[in-house]
């Protein structure tokens, strides 16, 4: 690959000047984001450097155990991210369990589907394939799951009088929450539909850009991107579906009562 240009630390230092624009905006409008910006930038650089080193090491091992360990950490982290920033989240561990459990299912499903059925690397658990695919599936599914759960709880809160009126008439919980569920599903699916519609025209997806910059033929890069898009779309849809219905069950009980007492608002949420 003669076209691949390796980046030196000096190149990256030069590029980091661009962050100063963000700092400038923050200072000009007194947004007070300078500290957050500095920390977030440092955090990103350190996180990416670390994962680069870890990945290099794990790729050299090609050990199913190490691959599994890193995959588990990724899933747990994604599960936490999917829930943490919710305005009103389901109290206790059940919401994290729902987020992590859903991501575990869709991540496993999509990754095994990809390496087992489509790409067939040798060995099938080759971390070079498994981990990036899992990462992309998790990153996108967690957005969908977070949006749908957030929509579910905020809509149920806003529409609680209507939902309870329906329950009082003897409607089962799935029926009383039908419009709420539908809205949550739709909101969760929207980003991936937008991404698919815009890709290629508005945006070149990051994975494809990366491959092209690293010297891969654009058509080859496109093929992988299409595969990834299918994987992401399918797993997001599955994740949104599982998380939404799981969420509906968690904010109601088996006597078909609306249990908004199980929600905590962001401010009141206990740490951790």
């Amino acid at each position: 690959m003669s076209s691949y240009v390796s980046l030196s630390p000096a190149d990256l230092a030069l590029a980091s000047i661009l962050i100063l624009v963000n700092a400038g905006v923050s200072m000009a409008f007194r947004l007070g984001l300078e500290r957050t910006l500095l920390l977030t930038t440092l955090r990103m650089v350190v996180q990416l450097l670390l994962i680069g080193l870890v990945l290099r090491w794990i790729f050299q091992q090609t050990s199913p155990l190490w691959t599994l360990l890193l995959a588990s950490i990724m899933i747990a982290a994604a599960g936490r991210e999917a829930i943490t920033r919710q305005e009103r989240r389901i109290a206790g561990w059940s919401s994290y369990g729902l987020g992590t459990g859903t991501l575990l299912m869709v991540g496993t499903f999509a990754t095994i589907f990809a390496v087992g059925g489509v790409i067939s690397p040798d060995p099938w658990y080759a971390p070079r394939y498994v981990l990036p695919i899992l990462g992309m599936v998790l990153g996108n599914s967690l957005t969908g799951i977070a949006l749908s759960l957030d929509t579910l709880t905020s809509t149920a809160w806003r529409e609680r009088a209507a939902i309870e009126a329906r329950l009082a008439l003897g409607q089962p919980r799935l029926m009383a929450l039908r419009e709420t569920t539908r809205r949550a599903l739709k909101t969760g699916m929207t980003p991936i539909l937008n991404a698919m519609a815009a890709s290629g025209i508005v945006s070149l997806p990051g994975m494809m850009t990366g491959q092209i910059l690293a010297g891969v033929d654009p058509v080859e890069a496109t093929k992988y991107q299409v595969l990834i898009m299918f994987l992401i779309a399918g797993s997001t849809a599955l994740g949104v579906l599982l998380a939404t219905f799981g969420g509906v069950l968690l904010i109601t009980d088996d006597r078909h009562r609306l249990r908004l007492d199980r929600l905590v608002t962001k401010e009141k949420a206990p740490a951790g």
Partner: protein, 201 residues
């Protein structure tokens, strides 16, 4: 007959009482004491320890939906879904004829059923919620301030409809701040009081 046994609502002593068919129980007490929570507990909308029987069958012996089709809670601030009032009233069940009859009995033109709920006044919505609660003829009707936001004439019509339900043999539990209304409708009275406030030396 509706029978409540050892129902434990926080802040209140355990409640045990009976209301027969064709009887109306008025539930009285200061604001915030738990009148609404009592009605909600009877309808099994809140998880409250204790037992509630309808003709000897306890609420938890049957599916929640079946219980609430017989034991109906009508909220003081009713919620709506769908475009028109007709949409949610028809989902509640009951014949079209009965729905339109009750609507006009309450002094409303049945055409109002097809107007968007968001364009209706509070009083119109409260009366339509009463129609919705009664449309499928539940056995027990739990009314939380059914005439609270109504003018005198509309309140009298609503009261008439409630009286008709009692005469037809249904059981009514009524939360109301209108003393005259309680005098006119109630056969039984339940006074809720905070045991800590009244009993302590």
């Amino acid at each position: 007959m509706l029978r409540v046994e050892q129902l434990t609502i926080p802040g209140l002593p355990d409640l045990t009482f009976e209301v027969g068919d064709g009887q109306c129980l008025a539930i009285e007490g200061p604001s915030g004491i738990g009148k609404t929570r009592l009605l909600r507990a009877i309808a099994d909308l809140d998880d409250v320890p204790g037992q509630v029987f309808l003709d000897g069958a306890e609420r938890h012996e049957m599916p929640a939906a079946q219980w609430r089709r017989q034991v109906r809670f009508a909220a003081a601030e009713p919620g709506w879904w769908g475009e028109t009032a007709r949409h949610s009233i028809e989902e509640a069940g009951g014949t079209l004829e009965r729905i339109e009859k009750m609507t006009s009995d309450l002094g409303l033109d049945p055409a109002i059923l097809d107007r968007p709920v968001s364009q209706l006044s509070t009083g119109e919505r409260l009366r339509l919620a009463l129609v919705r609660a009664l449309a499928d003829q539940p056995r027990v009707i739990l009314l939380d301030e059914p005439t609270g936001a109504l003018d005198k004439a509309s309140a009298a019509l609503a009261e008439e409809l409630i009286r008709y339900q009692i005469l037809a043999g249904r059981t009514v539990a009524l939360v109301s701040h209108d003393r005259g209304q309680i005098e006119r409708l109630a056969d039984l009275r339940l006074q809720l009081a905070d045991p800590a406030a009244g009993g302590s030396p």
